[in-house]
Symmetry: C2
Subunit: 322 residues, 2 copies
Amino acid sequence: MSKFDEIMKLSGYSRATVSRVINHSRHVSPEAREKITAIMKQLNYVPNRNAVSLSTGQTNQIGIVMASTSEVVLSFLNQFVDIAMDYGFQTIIYTTRGDKENELRAFEDLRSKRVDGLVIVTCVNKPRVLKAYCEYGPIVSWQRMDSGEIPSIAMDQGEGYRLALEHLVARGYTRIANLFGRIESLNTQSRREAYEQFMQSRGLPVRTDWYHYSVFTPTDGTKVLQQLTAGPEMPQAVLCANDYVAIGIQSAANKLGLQIPRQLAIVGFDDTELADTLGITTIYNPIAEQATHAFYRLWAVLGKQQMEPAQLQYKLIARQTT
Amino acid sequence: MSKFDEIMKLSGYSRATVSRVINHSRHVSPEAREKITAIMKQLNYVPNRNAVSLSTGQTNQIGIVMASTSEVVLSFLNQFVDIAMDYGFQTIIYTTRGDKENELRAFEDLRSKRVDGLVIVTCVNKPRVLKAYCEYGPIVSWQRMDSGEIPSIAMDQGEGYRLALEHLVARGYTRIANLFGRIESLNTQSRREAYEQFMQSRGLPVRTDWYHYSVFTPTDGTKVLQQLTAGPEMPQAVLCANDYVAIGIQSAANKLGLQIPRQLAIVGFDDTELADTLGITTIYNPIAEQATHAFYRLWAVLGKQQMEPAQLQYKLIARQTT
DNA sequence: TTGTACGCGTTATCAC
DNA sequence: GTGATAACGCGTACAA
């Protein structure tokens, strides 16, 4: 016999009334509430959440999908988990390692009612494939998605990129190298377009020979700088995929005795704490706020309440590397 | 009518046989299996995991408890999620922000069958309080626990610390400052004892006036260095709570024009990628392997299989800051 | 305010 | 190999 049944028996009340007390319904007499509450405490009762979820059809769990839990997604993850918890939701991590089948398991879990909704941080499956899962629960993406099948709360990184470009050119740096992340990413595409349009509009050279892709980590940055120095010509400035890459560039440049920013200017992306510590010029990216937006979008469906999202903007943070 | 019932009806087989096919039982005739499988595909069937969990009493979910998802715990988190997934378990993050009540919710979730087990990364409640939850499922801690009520897979950080001390003293650095993390942490205690015993055994001064606590981030490190330089005497070397603190120290020292390591030696802890990039001497800490150990300990109960854990050791990684 | 009866979707234990 | 039947623990129309 379950504890629920024990409470029924000991209190003399019915299943419905006990359930009402558990869920703080107002339609219960004070005596009933008091008596049942006392017995619950005495029995050290907690509801079985699987039974609750089965009955209500909700688990109050949200899945977050990403290739791996790297530094770059850390503040998004942290903020999302926190705000979700504030609204009574737990967060389940799905790390895919960039594998399509792994990733689909998360979506299958939406179908099988393990999670009420999904946030995509990074994903490798095509939106067309994922679209089929939208009927099973709300899905929102941080990563930009082509074709509006999956709603996205992404900001246009091209805007942030333009801030960096204006800053560099205003200081006289016109020969600029670009270090991008995933080549097929829409963020990369947006940054690249921003660069090309900006340079062309100023009549400045578009150096596609200084495009580097799949540059994510400090080590990647270090390697790229070695390639650049080995080339026929050095850029005056480097625009990095993120702050960690910028750290790699900065460190390698220091080792080579390059004067920063006189011989090489460096701009990061995201404005992490380390960029501040190491004096790296960067673009402030309101990542935590975007995590909040992502949750709000899910909450609009799960909680049936629209939340007004704040307007977000990139900002240039000038430091010692420019 | 649920899809399960539809399958029963369409196939003509009973509830039990359908269940057997779903769970790949061998006691099913080929015809039955084929027919039912076909209908399952046609109906696009997936089992409801809440119903499964309610029936089996297992959720295949493991909770991971920590104050927040910081860089320091990142590789532990990443590895744990990965290995758990390999064994069919999902990971739920419980961020407590250092709040006792928040933390207890994770343990209540073990009681209410939302998770099958728990890993503690950091925790603030007393082991005596937590002990009561051990009967509801396996719990293992990465953080060291006094009194063996909660099993821990922690390594003795004092050992790693001794490696750093030997290295420093061998190079002639004897006036050493220590930057610790949480003052009440057993890791801190272990490091402090290692320092004091080591120095005393060598007849060297124990500089308790150079103890600093709650030093976690690069910014914290920067602040501490300012305090040190403002003091009456500068240490020759700084032992840091982790690599991020070391980065803060290194950066601040560079700004002040201090020669590293001649005027100030720096040793980090953990051997993160950034320590490599920035040339910081550090102690290699097999964090991912400890995450594996943690899962094995849970698996010993959940999967009823003992896994032989590898022997782990700290290592000194000498770089340019010593 | 309270109780009845049923539903949620699956697993498990028996028989046969 | 197959099939009734009973759990699993709780929510909830609906009626009283």
